[in-house]
Each structure stands twice: as C-alpha cells, then as structure tokens.
Symmetry: C2
Subunit: 195 residues, 2 copies
DNA sequence: CTCTAAACGCAAGTTACTTGCATTAGCAGT
DNA sequence: ACTGCTAATGCAAGTAACTTGCGTTTAGAG
C-alpha cells in the first residue's frame, strides 16, 4: 500500500457519486436558484441517498460551494492587456458580471453563510489561495513593467479592489453599478486627493 | 384613531416582550457565542413562547441582527480629530476592534447569512443608511476643510475602506491585522503608484 | 480469487421551524 | 371606570431539515 493507515478510494464509485451529486446540484441551482435547492432534491436527482450527501459535505452550503467552485474558476480568467489599469478593470468587470448571475451570487453568499467546519474551511482556503495567486499575477506583471513599486503587496492590492464588490453583494445587497470597476481602479491608482 | 385600518400597539406588552427577548438573546450571545444561540433557549429565558419569536422575527439570524443593532450603534463613534487621515484610521480601528469581538463577528455574519425577507431587508437598509450618514461626515468635514475635492463621494469612499475589513471577517475568515487600518487609509489617500 | 474496510443505503431519531385555533390583554370609545 | 374589539400571545400538532447507528455493498490490495 502507498499510504499507511488510510486507504483513500478516489477512482470508482466515490468519484461517480461525487460527479452525479455535483451535476445534480448544479442543475437544480440553475433551474430553481439558490433558495430552491434542497439536499433531498439533489440526492433524488443524483440517484443517491440523502444521508450520503450529508456525510460527504456536511451541510447544504458546503455542497453548493463545492458544486460552484469549478465553475467559478473558469469564469474568471486573468486578463493580460499590457496595461495595469486595463487589466484591473477587465478583471473587476468579469468578477462583477459573475457576482451578478444567480450562480455567482449564490456562491458568494454560500461562502459567507458556511460555518467553520473542516470541510468549509478547506474549501475557503483552497478557493482564496488559487484566486489570490491568479489575480496576483496582474500586480506582479505591473511591477515587472515598472508600473508599480517593487514593494507593492499583490494580495492586499487585489483585496482592496474586490472587497467592495463582495461587500455590496453580501452585506448591503445592492446591485453592482456597471462603472463601479472603473471608479474603484481609478480611485485606487490615483489616490483620493487627486481631482 | 390616528391611522386608518391598522392599530399598532407599541407600548405595553409588545414592548415588554420585545425587550425581554432582545435582552435574553444578548445574554446568550455573550455567554454562549453566536453558534450556541438557539431560539428555544432565548424564548425560555425571556419567559416567552418560541412561536412568538418566530412570528416576530422570522428567523434566528433576524433576531441576532435586531439584538446586536443597538449595541453596534454606540460602539462605533465618529471621531473628529481635525485630520482626515487620523479620523479614518481611528474609525477603521474601532470598526476592526468591534468586528474582532464575538458580538461584532456574529453581527456581521448574521447580516451576511440573513435572507431577503422583509424583516431582514429593512434591518439591513436601516443599519447601512444610518451608518453611511454617520461615517460620511468624516468625508464631508474633510471636503469643507479643503482636504478633499468637492466631488468626492462620501459613501463610495468609506465603502472602499470598510469593505476589506468585512471581507476578511466574512469571506476569507482571517484575523484582522492591527496595522491594516493604517495601510488601507494610506494606500487610498496616496494612491497605488506612490512609493 | 479472497479479504478488508471505506462508502453507501436504510430507517429511526432529534432538532429546527411552521401553522391553526383558543385565549389574553392593550387601547378606543363611552 | 366599564366594555367591546382585535393584535399579540400561548398552546399543540405538524412539516421539513438534519443526524446517527447498523447492516450491506463494492473498490482495491495481496
């Protein structure tokens, strides 16, 4: 055996069940929306018992997060226009568009509503780690082009820009204004005092 | 009668019940934390039936929000030091301190987890309206002192600063670094390009 | 081909939340 | 004060969400 003590079983039935459940969950999310998703429905559609889902994912929120994770990755490509300002505006615009869809909205709110159990914590860590490393490239490239000081913190900078979008989606529940990305980027680049 | 059709009954029993329930809820939040609060416990401690709470508040989250609303107001005073930078840093510091307490943390997460029912929507609107009008004064005063351009949008500006704090509390679940307020304020005031 | 244990199905149980109905108690008008 | 009206509450039964113990299946190692 390769691993002493535990024998994970990634291929075979587990993988089949996982895919079936995630596909069923995505289907239901697309048709009924985030509030219309129940674990019972998802299990029935996946041809799997309800308790299987609860055992693997723990809560409804964790299931939603896992199902929407893959989708989110590919819907948020990292632009590379050669200009820091354009890169940032493009990135924030696609993020705003995603967060305005039912799926993106559901993903953000599920991530916010999920608890601190191990499954949710790991999903959170995984998502933000890959997201930060991807979006951080925009900043790193700008530093290499000489557009930003060497000491610029990629993660801190990106968070200052994306946080207001998430804030409106999750906390104040306001629609995202189309020119919000541009305002955010220009304000941060120029500083407040500039006219 | 003053209002045709409906007769509100603000004084008397309703008010007594409301106070008793909110006090019981706050007590339980302080002792058991946000996850330890159940509607059954709160109702028992308030000497009120469980269904009364569900009828008045609808959900556990709405009850938590309502109970923590008053507390939040007085814990976030608006500083007036005469300097924009100092005002902002002081404000963000007190906000960060509040969000780091179990109560502040619970309040933010309850606000994020609450749904879109009328009760929750109204609580949200009320909270952010008063909060924005209060914190907006920092910006307005700075404009009047000539520290900022006349066209500066108070609400937009404050949101750019507070959003990263809420983001870490709700979405990434990271602790708030003590010098985060200073970094945020200085970055926004000077702009990214500055060294 | 056999053996083992992780993953699953099943069913019963617990907890959270909802709802219809009878009762209580503010408030208005006398 | 006294009386009638009705919103707000208590009570109890019901529904739905979630959990758990146990027997069964099945992927994978030897």
């Amino acid at each position: 055996m390769t691993e002493p003590g535990s024998r994970p079983r990634p291929g075979g039935r587990s993988a089949r069940v996982r895919r079936a459940v995630l596909d069923a969950t995505l289907d239901l999310l697309h048709t009924h929306g985030m509030d219309g998703l129940t674990v019972a429905d998802a299990s029935a559609r996946a041809g799997v018992h309800e308790s299987t889902i609860y055992r693997r994912w723990g809560t409804r929120e964790n299931l939603m997060i896992d199902a929407l994770l893959e989708e989110a990755e590919e819907l948020l490509p990292i632009p590379d226009t050669g200009s820091l300002r354009d890169d940032l505006i493009a990135y924030l615009t696609s993020l705003a568009a995603y967060l305005s869809t039912p799926q993106g909205n559901a993903f953000d709110r599920a991530l916010a509503a999920a608890g601190d159990d191990p499954a949710a914590s790991q999903a959170r860590r995984q998502y933000w780690t890959t997201r930060h490393s991807l979006s951080g490239e925009i900043i790193t490239r700008a530093i290499n082009r000489g557009e930003l000081p060497d000491a610029t913190d990629p993660r801190f900078t990106v968070e200052m820009l994306v946080a207001p979008l998430h804030f409106k989606v999750i906390l104040s529940r306001e629609p995202l204004d189309p020119d919000l990305p541009t305002r955010l980027v220009d304000t941060l680049l120029r500083g407040l005092a500039a006219t």
